[in-house]
């Protein structure tokens, strides 16, 4: 028998310092990430808050949120006062001051006015693509979780989902450009020269021309929907599978058909889960730039998407501004100066608030859902 006294340790435990060092190192690494993230948010908030919030009621600079985007003119008047005016106010000023000379005039593209155009554009793109992706994605997920048996078809679908999920967003941009912008069929009486194929429809002189939708809202929505589809399918299937098998068995045992079972006993219980995970997908859709660069986005546009339209359907076939693309333009295409800071940091701040709200919302919802739905 060993000496029982060796069970009592003298001084610190063996390997105490090694243990401490390892923990400390890993802990420092972890908190470094947290600190870097915090610094990043702090920087954006510090520079963004003064743009968006004001000291006077209503405390929010509604002009920045609700005005259209314009070119900024910066100049000094004869008294040495510096003016910063967006293009529309600038022309008013010139008109009203007539002869008075101005000095040191500089112009900054995209830096004046507000960002209502990009905000609305991003909202339209997000809504459109989520409607498409949810419709097709949830249907596909229902098939995978409720109907599918082991078959080569299912295997192929799973491989396709796995691969689609990994494709870089810029490749989706290429795909959207070559398919939705240049190749999908449209019904028109005047097919374009570059149409891949025209099929007569025998109704008047209308033909089905494979010439694409041009760079437009609908092309952007379709591209984004394709990109987000695997995420929606995977998340929806998970939610559907989380519904206990017993629910289905009970319903089927009472003589309901498969579809009745799905409609009454599966979908209602999985809907909260599906919607929660789609909220996270929205964050991704709203933040993507590469797929919409060539399919939908435009840097400058005078009207809001629904203004100056001949008919409502033109909304779908018109280009839109988008917040991420606007930020890209502000960051890459114009020189940084003190006059562009308002537009730059303001847009980023608004965008980040948007994304943060969505992702916090989904985190909270998910936590709530987990607490509530326990089978």
């Amino acid at each position: 028998m060993h000496d029982p006294e060796t069970l009592i340790r003298k001084g610190l435990p063996k390997g105490h310092f090694k243990d401490l060092a390892v923990r400390l190192m890993l802990g420092i690494t972890t908190y470094c990430i947290v600190i870097i993230a915090a610094l990043l948010f702090f920087k954006i908030i510090k520079d963004g808050v003064p743009v968006l919030f004001t000291a006077k009621a209503p405390f929010v600079d509604l002009g920045f949120l609700l005005d259209k985007n314009e070119t900024l003119h910066v100049f000094d008047d004869a008294q040495g006062l510096r003016h910063q005016l967006p293009a529309s106010q600038y022309s008013d000023y010139i008109k009203s001051h007539g002869e008075a000379p101005i000095y040191n005039e500089q112009t900054f593209s995209y830096s004046g006015g507000g960002i209502i155009g990009p905000i609305v554009g991003t909202a339209l793109l997000t809504i459109g693509s989520m409607v498409l992706a949810l419709f097709f994605g949830v249907s596909a997920a229902i098939y995978l979780s409720e109907y599918a048996k082991q078959s080569p078809f299912i295997h192929a679908v799973r491989i396709a989902i796995l691969n689609l999920a990994g494709i870089p967003s810029i490749v989706f941009g290429l795909f959207g450009f070559s398919v939705f912008v240049l190749a999908v069929p449209v019904i028109t009486s005047t097919p374009s020269d570059r149409s891949l194929l025209t099929l007569p429809l025998f109704i008047g002189d209308a033909v089905l021309s494979f010439q694409g939708w041009n760079s437009s809202l609908i092309a952007g929505c379709a591209t984004l929907a394709c990109m987000i589809l695997p995420v929606i399918i995977t998340a929806s299937e998970e939610s559907l599978r989380a519904v206990p098998q017993g629910f289905r068995d009970a319903s089927l045992a009472m003589g309901a058909t498969r579809w009745q079972t799905i409609r009454t006993c599966v979908l209602p219980f999985s809907m909260p889960g599906i919607l929660t995970s789609s909220l996270l997908a929205i964050t991704r859709v709203a933040g993507e730039t590469a797929p919409i660069m060539f399919t939908a986005a435009v840097a400058a546009k005078d009207d809001l998407p629904w203004q100056a339209l001949a008919n409502p359907f033109d909304l779908l076939s018109s280009q839109v501004q988008a917040l991420p693309y606007h930020i890209y333009t502000l960051a890459a295409r114009i020189p940084a100066s003190e006059y562009t800071q308002r537009a730059q940091y303001g847009s980023v701040f608004v965008f980040l608030i948007l994304v943060a709200t969505l992702s916090f919302g989904s985190m909270l919802l998910r936590a709530k859902l987990r607490a509530k739905l326990k089978w």
């Binding site: 028998m1 060796t6 435990p13 063996k14």
Partner: protein, 263 residues
Amino acid sequence: MVNHLANIADPLPPAIRIDRLCFAYQAKPALHGVTLDLPARQVTAFIGPSGCGKTTLLRCFNRINDRIPGARITGGSIHIHGIDINRPDIDLQELRRRVGMVFQKYNPFPKSIYENVVYSLRLSGIRKRSQLDESAEAALRSAALWDEVKDRLHSSAMGLSGGQQQRLCIARAIVSQPDILLMDEPCAALDPIATLKIEELLHQLKEQFTIVIVTHNMAQATRCADHTAFMYLGKLVEFGPTLQIFQTPHDPQTLAYVTGSFG
């Protein structure tokens, strides 16, 4: 409470001395004042219905319960060879090396058979190849596994059968020469043949170790254990030589349990 000590004539001092031990998982008490002396170099079986606290008690002996957040001893003490194992200055690693444990579900590491066996030797910093080889062979022989695996020591332990994996776990637990071996329903996940082998092994092992075994299987307790403790609802109901517990129990609850009236 009956004084069990009077019933036991034992030349060796008790290996584990449990005194009015109370234990709780967060707010939920699991043991209520268990007092018990476990004889050295013998096999003691804990029996009782599910949730009666026998596994909890077993897991107190090597303080593996510390892993569970909120689990704590609320009263009483455990002495192993006269040392209170809940003193703050106990060397926990040393304690666990001296009190080996085998779990209900065999759980070898996803490493080779050899690496599994010498794991605890490597932990204590032994690097010499010859010493490792020697100890591994001895442990595997003690666990009656050597002949079956000597040709494939370096293949993965996951390729062994369930019974072999459990014996590997026993070899892994005894390689560092512990004093006490705790076994938490070691045969629960095994088929009858493998169970038989483990039980034979127990008879050999008790020459060297003090063995505490938790079991659901009363027949197993009668076959292997020298002493048996019957627990019910977190209390020790009766403790004594196995034959006595099964044939002439003092307590009506024990009688009801061993005759199969409940549990």
